[in-house]
């Protein structure tokens, strides 16, 4: 009897605990499935009828160089933002982790950008980056010619800059919280061991912080692969900023091709899925390693 009770606990308790979250999840699963089904049809917003057309939307996309271009730009965008935001966020978090005078204000100040709705932030930045905007004004002060920040050649980098401004604090917060949850004693002993700052960083902080780093990378990867708001609010998707989700937006809301648009989005979904899978298994390993409990 007792042993059965225990087994029941062992087996079902975790599921029970997860159940509420799972119910929410499954509720939202339905539209997902619908989206996949629609992507297999010639669904147009302006057409009352839908026909099942198999993978035609996908094949169509794969044959379209714009699709590949879009995918390329998206990956480039994600790579750029993450490779700037995570190290920068780590740096900021490490600075914020010092208990010095005034640090609380800094902690507060540095997360403020996060609070701007991205669409609004992008509009504000667009204003700042305008030809007669403040950025060019400051550049002008040092004698440089005004830069067309949001014109084709520069626009991707400019949007990356906005993204960095907006989301570096996100990385910083996650990493700061991570830093704060690290055990203090190894640091003390490392100090006594006369390890240099960089050595401690590489050998202690990085490995122990890795789970948090991966989490930051994970969430930033997911979000920047489906970036939309910033581009939409600044360039409306000029050629060099035609991210996947922007393309999908055009297909769906401007050209009414819902089926094709969904095929774009399912593809980006799959890309995110694959990358995340990798990151998550990496996270699992890092988590175990950081606590020294490999199974």
């Amino acid at each position: 009897m007792k042993s059965r009770e225990q087994r029941w606990q062992d087996r079902y308790l975790p599921y029970l605990i997860i159940l509420p979250a799972l119910v929410l999840t499954i509720g939202i699963l339905y539209p997902f499935i619908l989206a996949i089904i629609y992507s297999l049809t010639d669904y147009r917003l302006v057409s009352p009828v839908r026909h099942f057309i198999g993978l035609a939307n996908y094949l169509d996309s794969f044959r379209d160089i714009n699709f590949w271009y879009s995918l390329g730009v998206t990956l480039l965008y994600a790579a750029l933002t993450i490779s700037i935001e995570v190290p920068l966020g780590l740096g900021v978090a490490m600075l914020l982790n010092h208990e010095i005078r005034g640090i609380r204000s800094f902690r507060f100040i540095l997360i403020i950008p996060l609070m701007m709705p991205p669409v609004i932030a992008a509009l504000m930045w667009k204003m700042i980056m305008a030809e007669n905007g403040v950025m060019n004004y400051f550049i002008g002060l040092i004698g440089a010619a005004p830069v067309p920040w949001l014109a084709n050649t520069y626009s991707l980098l400019s949007i990356v800059l906005i993204d960095v401004w907006l989301y570096t604090p996100f990385c910083a917060i996650i990493l700061l919280a991570g830093l704060q949850s690290l055990p203090k004693e190894p640091y003390e002993s490392a100090m006594v061991d006369r390890a240099s700052g960089f050595f401690v960083f590489r050998r202690l902080t990085l490995p122990m912080l890795k789970p948090f780093l991966i989490l930051a990378i994970l969430f930033r990867t997911i979000d920047s692969l489906k970036m939309f708001d910033l581009v939409y609010a600044t360039t409306k998707g000029s050629h060099s900023t035609m991210l996947m989700q922007v393309s999908a937006y055009y297909e769906a809301f401007r050209w009414y091709n819902m089926g094709k648009s969904l095929s774009y989005m399912i593809v980006i979904w799959v890309v995110i899925f694959i990358i995340s899978r990798m990151l998550v298994s990496w996270w699992n390993r890092a988590m175990q390693r950081a606590t020294g409990t490999e199974r």
Partner: protein, 375 residues
């Protein structure tokens, strides 16, 4: 060359005064033990020496240099933490190798390997080198922590109860190895312990700390035989010293006598009248249980008492003898005593200590130093 000098060092944690002005010197290449009960301020002192805790007041010098504000990584110390402070993500091997790879030591592959293996061997943790700290038992963790400190070969080695989790045999082995190591490398060692046996066996100087105050600083022999006060006297020695409140009186005996309140306990006073602090008549007489001889022969001289309880302790027994209102502990090899058996207790005058009843201070402390302590 490595000396450590503390001058009137204080440590407050908010309102808690952990260390209240302590001063001592640790000479080059010596093992200094800080001995004290739980909460005495031992760890705090050690951490201040390592530079891990700020110094509330006072000065710490290493090699004559003021180090109050020197960050820990700039000092050449190694430390074993009470809580081990192992790196959870590193294997035992990497834990030990960690300080060797840091910039200040910067050994290369093979020499790291050699050092790690040497230390692992000494600590008998060779088979564990591949494991992570989470997979170790308590004693194993402690040995790894010790190994990490030793591998570094720092000039000053700070050890915070480094072998408290080991069994007697291993502890004995460790003590020897530590001594060998210290002599081979000319390290200065500050050793925190609550175990007086460890302090006696290892240290050349013992600092007795309590409630953040130093009660006595001295060689093991001095601390054992001439404790500065009742605190030190009771801290050291197991079973603990018998303390009997007495009055010093001029009796018919040839010299002064110490007599307990009910008169049941009386021993000769080890001090002549002229050496007694004026007015001091109320004292505590201290006699270590080993120095009390028990005899069933009631015709012998001595203090009359009866057996109260007897505790078996392996070879020896601790016998408590009731003398008037007092219970005196006696360490004896005879196990044959019955409860309530009448006995006589004898003690040599040289084995009697005298403490001020008010202050607890040892009244004999101007006596010649006793040179009988061992190697």
């Amino acid at each position: 060359m490595s000396t450590v000098v503390l001058k009137d060092v204080h440590k407050d944690y908010g309102k808690v005064k952990a260390v209240r002005g302590i001063s001592f010197e640790c000479a080059d290449r010596e093992i200094l033990a800080i001995l004290g009960p739980s909460g005495a301020g031992k760890t705090s002192t050690l951490k201040m020496i390592a530079g891990l805790e700020s110094i509330t007041m006072g000065e710490i010098f290493e090699n004559g240099r003021l180090v109050n504000f020197l960050p820990p990584e700039k000092r050449n110390t190694a430390m074993v933490f009470e809580s081990y402070a192992l790196y959870p993500h590193l294997s035992v091997y990497d834990n030990i190798a960690f300080p060797l790879r840091s910039r200040s030591v910067q050994l290369k592959g093979e020499s790291i390997d050699a050092r790690v293996l040497e230390v692992a061997d000494m600590l008998q943790i060779g088979p564990l080198l591949g494991r992570k700290p989470a997979e170790l038992s308590g004693g194993q963790k402690q040995r790894v922590a010790l190994g990490r400190a030793l591998a570094k070969r720092a000039e000053v080695l700070l050890l915070d109860e480094p072998i408290s989790h080991l069994d007697a045999k291993l502890r004995h082995h460790m003590r020897r190895e530590l001594k060998k190591y210290q002599q081979a490398l000319n390290t200065t060692v500050i050793y925190v312990t609550h175990d007086y046996l460890e302090a006696l066996a290892l240290a050349s100087t013992i600092v007795v700390l309590n409630m953040g105050v130093i009660h006595q600083t001295g060689s093991p022999g001095v601390v054992y035989n001439r404790p500065a006060d009742t605190f030190v006297a009771t801290l050291i020695g197991q079973p603990r010293i018998n303390l009997v409140p007495c009055r010093i009186q001029n009796t018919s005996a040839p010299e002064l006598e110490c007599i307990s309140g009910d008169g049941s306990f009386r021993v000769p006073c080890p001090l002549p009248a002229d050496q007694l602090p004026s007015g001091c008549r109320e004292v505590l007489v201290g006699i270590r249980p080993q120095f009390l001889q028990l005899t069933p022969n009631l015709d012998d001289d001595g203090i009359a008492g009866e057996i109260y309880v007897s505790e078996y302790m392996g070879t020896d027994s601790i016998v408590e003898v009731k003398v008037g209102d007092h219970l005196l502990k006696v360490l004896t090899k005879e196990h044959g005593y019955r409860i309530a058996q009448a006995v006589k207790l004898q003690v040599l005058k040289k084995d009697i200590m005298l403490f001020d009843a008010q202050t607890g201070k040892n009244l004999l402390n101007h006596r010649e130093p006793d040179a009988s302590h061992g190697s």
